[in-house]
Each structure stands twice: as C-alpha cells, then as structure tokens.
C-alpha cells in the first residue's frame, strides 16, 4: 500500500440476507482514495452507495454483512477485523461519518455538548470537563456558537444540526471522513453553506473526504474524483473534470443529461427500473435500459476499461 | 387496509397461530354460554343461589372432582342411596339394618340418615319419636349410639358429620384405640375440625383420630332404630345416603353445589358483559377522539381536558361505593363499566385522526362542501374502523376482570347473576384456599384468564392484520 493512499478497496461485496432472498447490494467494487483527495460517490437511490459508505466502517445494519473483498486503511483490513478492535481503534479515530443531521442522527435526549464530548471521552480518555472544552472549541470552526453545547437537538434547525454532525465527525481528527447525503433535506442556501464548509474544513484538517449523494450538481462543486454506481456495481470512475466533460458510460451520460438545464426544453430521463438485486441479471446490469446495448452486454459483465487519463468505465463499448 | 375485503382479512388472520388459538378458546366459551342449559340442566343454573334446591339435590359437600381418583390411583367413593326396609310390626321399636359395602380407597364424605313419617290424620304434629343408630364395622367393632335423639320432625335429614353427638360418639369410640391422638385433638381443640366420617370408616390404631390410619374396607351394618311414642306413627321411608368423596367435573362447594354448573353458566355473564362494555365504550371513545381531533381548536382542548378528567378517576373505589349504595344489577354494572372505560382509547385515536385530517382528500372534501358529520363518518371513521376491532378485542379482558373483581369483593351484595367472580367470592368466604379446596378456586379464575386470553390473542392477530401504518 503506497504512502499516499488513504483507502484501498478491493472487490468489496456487501449482501443483505433477508427473508425474501439475498440482496446483493454491492457486488465487487474496487477503488483507491488518495491522501487529501475528495471522492464523490454518485448514483440513484438503491444503487448501493450508502451501503458502500457504511461498509467502509463495517457498520452495515443487519441483516447486511460484508460478504467478501478487502478494505485497507493504514495497512489494516477493515472487512475482516473483529468488532472490538474496530470499535477501539478504527471507528471515528481513523475514519468517521457525517450522517444526514437534519434527520434523526442525533440522540434526542442528550445535549449537543455531551454528544460531541462522547467520542473524546471514550477514545482519548478525557474527563467530561476537558471533553466539553474541546467541544466548545470545535464549534466555531463549523460556524456555530459554542453556547449550543447546552442545547438539545430538537432546538436546532436542520442546517445547524448538519454542522454539528460535521463537527462531531472531525473531533478526533480522523484520516478519512465519509459524508452521506450531507445536503439532502436542506434548502438550497444552507446547502451551499454546508458545501463550502466541507471544502474549507477538508483543507484545514487535511482529511480525505468521500462525498455520497444522488445529486450530481453538488459533486461538481466539491469533488476531485467522481465514481458512479449502478445496481451495486461501479460503472465509471475518473477525475471530475473528465467525467463532467466527457462521460463515457451510457448510464453516466444519461444521468448528466437528466439534470434539468435552464436553456433546454423538456425533461430527460432514463426509462426503466434498476434490476432486482436478489436476482441480478447475468451480463451488464444496465443492459435493459441502455440505448447502446448489444449482444455481448447481456452475456458477459464488462470489467473496468481504461477510457481516459484517469477515467475507467465498465462498458463493452470501449473494448 | 386499503382494498382489503373480508376474505383477505380472514385469510391474513388465519396466518397467525395465536389468532387461531384465540378463536378456538372463544368458541369453547361461547359454547359454554350457549350450551349451558344443555350441558348442565337449566334448573340448576337458574337456581344457583336457591340453597334449598341444592339441599334437595343431595350432592356431597365440598368434595373434589370425580377424576381426581384417576390421577391419584385411588378409588373415591360415589354417592349411594340405600333404602331401609320398613318392618311390618305393631311394636313401638322399629328396627332395620342397612348394609353398606365400603370398597373404596377414599371413604364417603358424609353419612346422611333420612326418615320420613307418613301423613296421618290422627297424630298430633308434636308427637315425638326417637332415632337411634349403631354402626357395626367389618372389623367386628361397634360404635354405639352414633345417633340418639328425639325429634318431632316429619321429614328428618341428619348428617352425621354435622351432628355434635354423632361426632362425639365416633371420637369416643376411637379414643380407646388412639389415646395419644385423643389427647392431641383435645389439647388443640380440633374436635370440631377433624373428619369424623373418615374416622368412622378407618382402621383402628395409633393415629386413627388424626386420620392417619388406612380406611377399613368391608361391609358396614347400620342398625337403625325408630322408637315411636304413638303407635299410629307410621314410617313412610327410611334411607341411608353415603355421600361420595368426589363428584362431577369440578367437584362441589360447601353448600353442595355442583361447581361445573356455576362455571358453565358464568360464561354467559362474562361474554355478554365483556362484549357489550368493550364494543360500546370503544365506539364512544373512538367517536369522541375522532370528532375532537377533527374539530380542533378550543373544542378539542375542552374535550381533551374532559377526557383527562374522566380517565383520572380511580375505577375500583368508585365502582365499589356506587355498587354499595345502589344495589347493582348486571345492567347497571355494564353501564358503569362503559362510563369508566370510554376515555381509554381516546388519545391514540385522536392522534390517528389528526394524521388523517392532514391528508389532502379531506381538504378536497371540505372544498366540495361536505359537512363535518359527513366527513367524519364517511372519510375519517372508516379508516380508523379496522383499528377499533383490535381495540374492542383488547377491551374485553379488562371488563371481565373488573366485573370479576367487583363481584369478588361484593359477594352477595353485588350482582345477582352467577359470575365467576362471585363463585370465587363464595370460595373466599368459605376459606376454600386455607382448607385446600383447589377445585373451587382454580376453575373460575382459570375461566376468567382463558376468556381474557382468547380476546388478547384475537386482538393481537387483528392488530397485525388490520393496523394501518398511519402511526409508523
């Protein structure tokens, strides 16, 4: 593992073992995240991006489990690490997550300060007073008044809660931060504020950031590298410049075309539905909806093929 | 719930094992309630509190169920009647022998002598006669003067167990064989309490008076003497009753009532009361909550305060005091229970109704000009209706339990019908628990629990099938 690689994911598989069948939510995904790099993970609902995000901390909720592959952080394989070690050494210390704060990600019965102090007390052994001091110090960095340490979550607005989530994710100075839909359910102005905050914090704290969202427009603002997921597989990855300028995979093209433009008339969309992940089709998973589909697509799954400088696409068109 | 027809509901319901068990139990209870006149005779049910009727029936008093013997591997004596031969004679002493073969592991619970004097015009009603009884036991011993009394009673029925003199005669007899035992019972004052009939039929020896010896099986001869003072006094019939040591499905109570009859007839009150209280009170509560939620504003506020007031009144003390002041009938009780129960479901229903109210189609209906009543009844209520079925099911056990509790406490001062609670009240008054009459205590309570359980199971299954996901 190179010294400038923060995260190395190899052939990761995450399955949900449900009563109605095994849902193969993530099927053989591989990518690398460089130190200080920002990676965007985009795709429609149910494509597996959130599951992928959770799996990086081995936090997939049951009945989900990591079914195969490796996740290397700092030389350690997260995928096979026992729970106790993960809890002590990895979670929040090396890698943390910003959940959708606008929802129920904060415990309603504990004060903000207590929730910020919690990881400090658990992982760094600080006393409650010391931890609260730390909490008060970090709040201005996300643009919040330190006095809110005594408030309860229900007293804050959605944007404020999101900032708290960000502060909480950074409080142990982790190497990697995953932001899962950080701007969903926020209004546009607050969205912009949060994105700017993420950008400046990324530089200040020197973290590698993974931004997960279905909203491609915010990706353009923040990420250097962009990966597109569909039906549990990664279909295209590359620098965001390359991707936005010249998307190669038909799905990426369709996604970008779907973003409504002021100058164009009419709405584009990709017809059809994603496949049932309990019974994924053989061959390319996008075949049924692809406008360029041909024979081989239905028979064999395309591997990642180099289509640009740093751009790879999983499509037989580029064989 | 949308689009679920009755058939779908039934099919879904049957998927839950608990629901099936619940229906099964319910059917048993309904069967009891409906079949009461058939299973046990109608008269017995209607005359449960008419003790005279039960005296006539000559059932043994306070005995366990007939099947106990099977489990214990012992044979329990059954009730047997032995008519006595009335001697044809002109003498003043009429003597007859009645033989009884005591072949059981558990001897009779009592021996009853019945003497009927014929109606005769020229004998004054105050003419007395004497009754004497000697008992010849199979081991050759004799107990003399077990009965020795003078009476004018034309229809005489004597229970040896209850006659002090008989008791003393038997005790005196056994004293010679068990001096230690005699000392013991005298010192501890147990002469009123020991089972003299068991001693009558048990082997002599140490501990006989403490009922520690085995029963003496064999032929017993009861030598009965009627000594008349007027030659014209004629006997109509003589009879000896050996009261069984066990009887029936659930045994008998201390008044000689067949507890099975009580249990079967008690099902009626339980079901009727439970269902009526549950259905009416839930309907009231649901309507109350729905209307309160829909009208909103200060009407809602006031209605909620009223409900909170109503729900804060402790049920039992008030029920007892009211029942005490005004003699309760079963219908009064039902009414009272409804009055105390309707506030229960209001809060939950209200929050459901509030959610429904925010739906767009309600606004649409209002825009079209539908009246409040129409909106509530045609749009909101039908959505809540499926949930109310589960509520009704869950309300029934509470009603049955409350009635049982009130009847238990009030006993004879409570409602007049047979209810399981009242049977338990009688049991408590007769110290059934302390004297070990488990057959009197277990069945009524068990029935209360089972009926409650049936509805809980049905309610849980209904809830899983019908509960709209509005609250999730």
């Amino acid at each position: 593992m190179g010294n400038d690689v923060a995260l190395d994911v190899q052939e990761l598989k995450v399955y949900y073992y449900t009563y109605t069948g095994v849902v193969k939510a993530v099927e053989g995904v591989s990518f690398k995240l460089g130190k200080g790099e920002t990676l965007g993970l985009a795709g429609e609902s149910g494509c597996g991006k959130s599951t992928l995000g959770f799996s990086l901390m081995n936090l997939v909720p049951p009945p989900g489990k990591i079914a195969g592959g490796h996740i290397y952080i700092d030389g350690m394989d997260i995928a096979t690490m026992p729970e106790s070690e993960l809890r002590k050494n990895v979670r929040w210390k090396k890698i943390s997550m910003v959940f959708q704060g606008a929802m129920n990600a904060l415990t309603p019965v504990y004060k903000i300060g207590e929730q910020l102090a919690e990881p400090l007390m658990i992982h760094k052994g600080l006393s409650k007073e010391e931890a609260m001091e730390e909490a008060k110090n970090i709040l201005p960095k996300v643009g919040l008044d330190p006095a809110i340490v005594n408030r309860y979550p229900h007293e804050l607005s959605g944007g404020m809660k999101q900032r708290v989530m960000i502060a909480m994710a950074l409080i142990l100075r982790p190497d990697i931060v995953i932001a899962d839909e950080p701007t969903t359910a926020l209004d546009v102005i607050v969205q912009a504020q949060i994105l700017n905050l993420l950008k400046s914090l990324k530089n200040e704290f020197n973290i590698s950031l993974i931004l997960i969202s279905h909203d491609l427009s915010i990706m353009a603002e923040v990420v250097e590298k962009l990966a597109i997921m569909y039906a549990g597989k990664m279909v295209e990855i590359g620098s965001s410049d390359e991707m936005f300028a010249d998307p190669k995979h038909p799905y990426t093209q369709g996604l970008l075309k779907s973003i409504p433009k002021l100058t164009e008339k009419g709405l584009h969309y990709i017809p059809g539905q994603p496949p049932d992940l309990r019974n994924p089709p053989s061959g390319c998973r996008f075949a049924d909806r692809c406008p360029f589909v041909f024979d081989k697509c239905r028979r064999e799954e395309p591997p990642m093929l180099k289509v640009g400088d740093t751009q790879y696409a999983a499509c037989w068109l580029y064989e | 719930m949308y689009g679920m027809g009755i058939k779908d509901v039934v099919r879904e319901f049957l998927r839950f094992r608990g629901g099936i068990v619940g229906i099964f139990l319910l059917l048993i209870i309904v069967g009891m309630a409906l079949g009461a006149p058939l299973i046990s005779d109608e008269e017995a049910g209607n005359r449960w509190y008419d003790l005279e009727y039960w005296v006539e029936k000559d059932l043994p008093k306070g005995v366990p169920p007939a099947w106990v013997g099977v489990f214990e591997g012992r044979s329990y004596s059954v009730t047997e009647r032995f008519p006595g031969q009335i001697p044809e004679t002109n003498r003043f002493i009429l003597r007859t022998n009645i033989t009884y073969n005591m072949k059981y592991d558990v001897p009779p619970s009592d021996v009853v002598i019945r003497v009927r004097i014929a109606e005769e015009a020229n004998i004054s009603a105050t003419t007395t006669y004497f009754v004497r009884l000697n008992v010849y036991r199979p081991d050759g011993t004799v107990i003399e003067r077990v009965l020795d009394l003078e009476t004018v009673n034309r229809d005489l029925k004597i229970s040896l167990k209850s006659e002090d003199r008989s008791r003393n005669a038997i005790i005196s007899f056994m004293k010679d064989f068990d001096e230690e035992g005699y000392e013991r019972i005298i010192n501890q004052g147990l002469t009123e309490v020991i089972d003299v009939i068991y001693i009558l039929f048990s082997q002599t020896g140490e501990g006989a008076l403490l009922e520690r010896t085995e029963p003496l099986k064999g032929i017993y001869t009861f030598e009965l003497e009627i000594i008349r003072t007027d030659i014209n006094l004629e006997l109509d019939s003589l009879e000896l009753l050996a009261m069984g040591a066990a009887h029936g499905v659930f045994g008998t109570d201390t008044n000689g009532r067949d507890i099975f009859v009580g249990i079967v007839w008690g099902a009626r009150v339980a079901l009727i009361l439970g269902l009526i209280v549950a259905i009416v009170s839930v309907l009231i509560g649901v309507l109350y909550g729905t209307v309160s939620a829909y009208l909103g504003g200060w009407v809602d506020e006031i209605l909620q305060r009223i409900q909170e007031f109503a729900i804060s009144i402790p049920l039992l003390p008030l029920l007892l005091i009211l029942a005490f002041y005004f003699k309760p009938t079963i219908w009064n009780l039902i009414l009272l229970l409804i009055v105390f129960s309707w506030p229960g479901p209001v809060k939950t229903i209200r929050s459901m109704a509030l959610q429904i109210r925010e739906q767009l189609y309600i606004t649409a209906a209002k825009a079209v000009g539908a009246s409040t009543g129409r909106i509530v009844l045609r749009y909101i209520f039908p959505q809540i209706l499926p949930y109310t079925f589960a509520l009704v099911a869950f309300a029934v056990p509470g009603a049955i339990l409350t009635e049982a509790g009130v009847s238990f406490l009030l006993g004879a001062q409570g409602v007049l019908e047979i209810t399981w609670g009242r049977i338990l009240s009688d049991a408590q008054d007769a110290s059934a628990v302390l004297t070990g009459m488990w057959w009197w205590v277990l069945p009524p309570g068990f029935m209360i629990a089972i009926s409650g359980l049936a509805f809980v199971l049905i309610g849980t299954a209904l809830d899983r099938v019908l509960n709209p996901r509005l609250l999730r």
């Binding site: 979670r91 997550m97 990881p119 | 509790g405 359980l453």
Partner: protein
C-alpha cells in the same frame, strides 16, 4: 420556562379533579350524615313526645304540633335548617381536612374509631406493598424488555411476548389465592396472610424481618402478574428506537454497545415507556386492592373490603376520597417524571434560530 408551565398545568388539572371528587364526597357524606341525624331526631321526638307519659293526655294534634316544634328546634341545633349548599360546604371543608367523623364498626389498631386515624394507619402498609412491587416490576420488566429487543425472534423474546399476553388477563388476586394455596398451605414456605405473625416480635429488627417475611408472597404475586406488560411495552418501544438513525451514529462513533443500549436507547425510549405503562400502573391499583383482601394485608384495600362488608359508610366515603387523592397524586408524580425524562418537555420546543 416550559417545564414550569407544563407542571403548573398538570397541577391545576389535578386540583380540578380533586375538587370535583371532593364535592361528590361531600355530597355523599352529607347525605349519609343527615340521614343519620334525621333518624336520631325522629327517635328523640318519638321518645320525648309520643312516648312521654307527661304528654299522654294531649290530643294527637297537640302532640303533632309539639313534635313539629321540637323537630325544628333539633334541626336548628344540628344545622339542618341552613341551605343545602352551606351544609355541603361544611362537609367539603371537613373532607379537605380529612375529617370524616367516626366509623360505625371498624377501629384502628390503637382502638380509635376516628375514620382518618383508621385510614392513615393503613396507608403506609399499602405503600410498602404497592410501591416496592412497582419498583421491582419496573426494573425486572425493563431489563427483560431490553434483552428481548436485542434478541428479536429468539426464544427469550417469544417467551416474554407470550408470557405478557398470558398475564394481561390474569386477575392478580386470583393468582394470589393460588400462590397462597401452593406456597403457604401445601409447601408451607410462606405465611398465608397478614403483615405480621401473631404475636408480633418485640425486637424491631425481628419485627422488620417478620414483615419482610409476610411481604414476600404478595410481592411475588404482584411482580409475577405485572412485569410481563412492562417487558412487552419496553421491548416494542426499544425495538422502534433501535431502528433510529442516531443509534447508528453512536455505533459509528465507537460507543460501546452497553452504553448505546442503556444510555442512548433507553433514555430515548423512557418517555413513551412511561406513557404506555402509566395507564397500566394505575389500572393495577384496582387489582392490588383486591389482592390485599386476599392476603389479609392490613392496607387500604383490605380496609375497603372490611368497610364494605360491615356497611361502615363513613369509612367507605373517607377511603374513596383518600384513594382518589393518592391516585391523582400518583398521576401527577408520573407526569413530573415524564417531564424530566423528555427534554422536549423540559426545555420546550425551540426550533432554533
């Protein structure tokens, strides 16, 4: 402060309820007392007029007139001539001061026939049984409920759910009868009733142990019948909370499972658990009353039973009022606890800037 406002509201509510109950009690007491007094007056008149040899020579009309006058005099003495409202008001004041007159039949253990003495003596005994039982039930119920929620579908979980359903319709007092039969009569491990042995031990420590010994069986019955409901409610609510996002957040932060469960989850689940079980607790009071009668435990329940059996009206009236008083007080206490547990009530609904 929102908390103060909420509590003030609940206190006012409680006072209103108490006032109404007070009124009803006063009316009943008044009715009862006046019936007594009138009967007494009638008896007096009969003695002093109709049976008095002094007036034997009077004509019936003269006697009647004399009787009427005397009756009026007596009514004045006893205050029966005052308007109804005033009379009821006096009773209300009496009731507020817990003055219910004297009992007809019953006496306190010190021999006093004063109703409030009798009742006050019984209160701590009921509190001992009921409160201890409730606390144990809560602890056992919640612990089991949490265990069941964390092992959904396991044997323990299904057993708890089935057990809860089964005990929902069990009459507590009947279970008491059965337990007495089995443990006290058959096995002879526990006493069959009462609070102390006869004669009670002199030494205070031995006395306390004796009370504890007598307390055990009714306590077991109480917990046995009640903890199922608590477990089930806790399990359902905790299950719901476990699916909330903040649980995942806590896990991601590396918080140990125990702290997540007993800290984040349980604290959040407490307000709805309190709500859903408040009604159950208050409902179990009725059963507890009857259970006291079964166990001959000399508390309020048995007192009620005895008073009714003996037709001792003043005691019944006094008991109804006091038990309602305690009941309302208990509800208020629960409201208070709920407010403390739920920060949305404690701090009020903010909304942020």
């Amino acid at each position: 402060m929102a908390l103060v406002r909420y509590l003030a509201f609940r206190v006012v509510n409680a006072l209103v309820i108490l006032f109404f109950v007070l009124l009803i009690t006063a009316v009943m007491m008044n009715q009862y007392l006046e019936d007594q007094i009138r009967a007494e007056i009638r008896e007096r008149i009969a003695q002093e007029v109709y049976r008095n040899p002094r007036y034997a020579t009077y004509t019936p009309e003269e006697k009647d007139r004399l009787a009427a006058n005397l009756t009026l005099r007596y009514e004045q003495i006893y205050g029966l001539d005052q308007p109804y409202v005033v009379r009821v008001l006096y009773r209300t004041v009496d009731a507020m001061m817990f003055d219910f007159g004297n009992a007809l039949v019953l006496k306190s253990s010190t021999g006093s026939p004063v109703v409030s003495d009798i009742i006050i003596e019984a209160i701590p005994r009921t509190v001992l049984l009921f409160t201890t039982g409730t606390i144990i039930t809560i602890v056992v119920g919640i612990l089991l409920g949490i265990k069941a929620a964390t092992r959904v579908g396991s044997f323990l979980d299904r057993a708890i759910s089935t057990f809860a359903m089964f005990t929902y319709s069990l009459p507590m007092w009947w279970v008491g009868m059965i337990f007495i039969f089995y443990f006290a009569i058959l096995l002879k491990i526990f006493p069959s009733g009462g609070m102390v042995s006869i004669p009670p031990p002199e030494d205070p420590v031995a006395y306390a142990m004796d009370v504890l010994y007598h307390l055990t069986l009714p306590l077991i019955v109480f917990v046995f019948v009640n903890f199922g409901g608590w477990s089930y409610a806790t399990r359902s609510i905790v299950l719901n909370v476990l699916t909330e996002d903040f649980v995942n957040t806590a896990r991601a932060k590396g918080v140990p499972e125990r702290r997540i469960l007993y800290g984040h989850v349980l604290r959040t689940a407490s307000p709805p658990i309190v709500t859903s079980t408040t009604l159950a607790i208050l409902g179990s009071i009725g059963g507890a009353i009857i259970t006291e009668a079964v166990f001959n435990w000399p508390g309020l329940g048995r007192l009620f039973y005895q008073a009714i059996l003996n037709g001792d009206m003043p005691v019944v009236i006094g008991l109804t009022y006091i038990s309602t008083f305690l009941y309302v007080f208990a509800i208020l206490a629960l409201d208070f606890i709920y407010a403390l547990l739920d920060p949305r009530i404690k701090v009020g609904f903010g909304g942020g800037r």
